[in-house]
């Protein structure tokens, strides 16, 4: 029987490319590319590595977002995923992490049986790291987050992972089915392949909340315990001074004199 892996992925704006307009203090989002979230690429890569070893493995990428998130799912397929499912519905708009995890958990249940869910630790637009664990809670699965090494027993029943801590790591054994969240140390995501790009058997399925049998009372803005009270940009810090000097030595001296003068050193 095929080993079934679900990979949770999100399309995000490349926050490295976002800049602040210094005059207005607002975000410049024009021309900012949308990308497959970094940690999610690591989650997908690890699933594909399992598939490399055990070709009978089936990898389904699940996402929630607007229809243009299909571009990101196309990239996942081109990397080697077997299929992709996008939950796209206005009814799930405005969801916080709790409502989002309800929607994605329902979609995963709709897809059917699975042995393993791999998600990225967090998405670079929100940085919450909450949706993975909350999907796991909703589905009643054990979880390990911050996974930086992964191995699986030959019978595909027992997983051993290295979980990163700030001051070291833990080695953890966990049985399938379970939820793991990946960090960048886990692997180096592969590039898209021509075979992946041109494989006509691989499909991206876009589903509505009704298609995926999502309970509308537990998703969307109204079902979200948290909401945004205010949003704003940080106050731009006043521009400082340029340290002058004809040589590097002179610049260094002028810097240190000023730091001394202001009792900073």
């Amino acid at each position: 029987m095929a080993f079934k892996i679900i990979v949770c992925a999100k399309q995000v704006p490349d926050t490295n490319e976002i800049k602040i307009n210094p005059e207005t203090g607002t975000l410049i989002r024009d021309g900012v590319p949308s990308i497959l979230n970094n940690d999610d690429a690591n989650a997908l890569e690890e699933a594909l590595k399992i598939k490399d070893m055990y070709p009978d493995t089936h990898v389904t990428v699940v996402s929630m977002g607007p229809p243009q998130a299909q571009e990101m799912l196309f990239e996942c397929i081109a990397m080697g995923a077997d299929e992709a499912v996008l939950l796209s519905d206005r009814a799930v708009g405005g969801s916080d992490t709790y409502a989002t995890s309800n929607a994605i958990a329902s979609t995963i249940q709709h897809i059917g049986e699975f042995d393993l869910i791999f998600a990225g630790r967090q998405a670079i637009d929100g940085d919450t790291a909450q949706v993975g664990p909350q999907i796991a809670e909703k589905l009643g699965l054990p979880q390990v987050t911050y996974v930086e090494e992964f191995s699986i027993s030959e019978d595909m029943k027992e997983i051993t992972v290295k979980r990163q801590l700030e001051d070291g790591y833990e080695m953890i054994k966990i049985k399938t089915p379970c939820m793991l969240t990946a960090i960048k140390e886990l692997n180096e995501p592969r590039y898209m392949s021509m075979g992946g790009i041109f494989n006509p058997d691989k499909k991206i399925k876009v589903v509505s909340a009704a298609d995926a049998e999502v309970d509308l009372t537990i998703v969307g803005l109204k079902a979200s315990p948290t909401n945004v009270f205010r949003s704003f940009t940080p106050k731009p810090k006043g521009k400082g001074v340029t340290v002058e000097g004809d040589t590097e030595k002179e610049i260094a001296k002028n810097l240190l004199i000023d730091l001394k003068k202001k009792h900073i050193i």
């Binding site: 975000l27 929100g126 940085d127 919450t128 953890i172």
Partner: protein, 368 residues
């Protein structure tokens, strides 16, 4: 949670994370923050530490000294080692029994694993990685006017609403959002380590210890922690450092960090890094400053060859003094720098090192 009785929910809880019988710094920071918030709620509001483990009762004393009014103590040999399952179960049970109004966790690798799971089980909200908290609207207005571009005209300083206002960066620090959880309890947040202020400890402070007998069995825990390894690598204490010498892509390659190490040693600082260098494998991630690394606020932050990607700025722009060294005069780092040096870091840093001990004499010479 349609029929929630808000009056039942009282007090501020802090998950005081301990590892190997030692409290995490952020736990003490949160007790200090909890104390501050409690005064803005009511005189009866208590700050309670939730202490979980095995054989860790002695840590209650430290909690009292750093601002806890009471300690809820849950001890069991099955809780000696942190597991998501075990801790989620006993915490959710305790919350259902004692009903805290506010519940804070440190945004550590453990706090960020645990809190979302607890929130989902309790069907309440959770705000991640907060950098500022308020209950009083007047205090929130004060914070917003000092630090943000928010127009506060729509807010009334007399507003008696005491909902927790949880402020956090989003979009890599480009945007700030204040999140509320108005209709669910407890109001939960994880808080960035290094941001909140510890209280001055009061030696000999005491308080009530409330023991909770956990209902936990082996069947509740679905993972097996085989071993916990403390990293042998040199511990980088970015959050405690007075001076941080940080390098970015402009350092060129891994060997550039040899210079940074010497620089840091000379000025009594520690070495920091942008994400780019960590991603390139030039230095360990424990050195990373920024939105996905460590948030720092040293007295002096030397940003060397760092362009100033927004994620990086989010993690260091509250430093007292920022000195930026970069070849490109248009680098965004110069927008936040107090001192900008346009030049080659490989030429500038050795000169700063050479003159560092002469600073006093150089300054004296200018005053004569």
């Amino acid at each position: 949670m349609a029929n929630i009785n808000f009056d039942e929910y009282k007090n501020i809880w802090v998950f005081v994370e301990q590892r190997n019988g030692k409290l995490m710094n952020v736990a003490l920071e949160l007790l200090g923050e909890g104390h501050k918030l409690s005064r803005d709620i009511s005189d009866e509001t208590k700050v309670c530490a939730l202490l979980i483990g095995d054989g860790i009762e002695n840590l209650a004393q430290e909690c009292f000294e750093y601002g806890a009014d009471c300690v809820y103590l849950i001890e069991d040999e099955k809780l000696k080692q942190y597991t998501t399952d075990g801790y989620t179960k006993v915490i959710a049970d305790a919350v259902n029994e004692f009903k805290p109004d506010i519940f804070l966790y440190g945004a550590t690798h453990i706090g960020r694993d645990l809190a979302p799971r607890v929130a989902a089980r309790l069907k309440t909200g959770l705000t991640a990685d907060c950098t500022h908290l308020d209950v009083s609207v007047a205090e929130y207005i004060k914070f917003a006017e000092e630090n943000t571009t928010l127009n506060t005209k729509s807010l009334n300083p007399e507003d008696p609403n005491k909902n927790l206002k949880m402020t956090r960066p989003a979009f890599g620090g480009n945007l700030m959002a204040t999140i509320v959880c108005p209709n669910h309890r407890p109001q939960m947040a994880t808080v960035r380590p290094g941001v909140m202020q510890k209280m001055e400890p009061v030696a000999g402070a005491t308080g009530e210890i409330i023991r909770i007998k956990p209902e936990i069995s082996d069947a509740d825990i679905h993972i097996q922690v085989v071993e916990v390894v403390k990293s042998a690598k040199e511990l980088v204490s970015l959050t405690d450092a007075d001076i941080i010498c940080s390098a970015g892509r402009g350092i060129g390659d891994a060997s550039g960090f040899d210079l940074m190490k010497k620089f840091a040693d000379k000025v009594g600082g520690v070495v920091g890094s942008s994400r780019a260098c960590v991603d390139a494998g030039w230095i360990d991630h424990s050195h990373q400053v920024g939105q996905t690394g460590t948030t720092v606020k040293p007295k002096i932050y030397f940003a060397c060859g760092i362009s100033g990607a927004i994620q990086h700025l989010a993690g260091m722009q509250n430093s007292d003094i920022i000195v930026a060294i970069n070849k490109d005069p248009d680098s965004p780092i110069f927008e936040v720098a107090d001192y900008g040096i346009v030049g080659d870091l490989y030429k500038v840093i050795p000169e700063i090192m050479a003159e560092w001990d002469n600073a006093e004499a150089l300054y004296d010479a200018t005053t004569k």
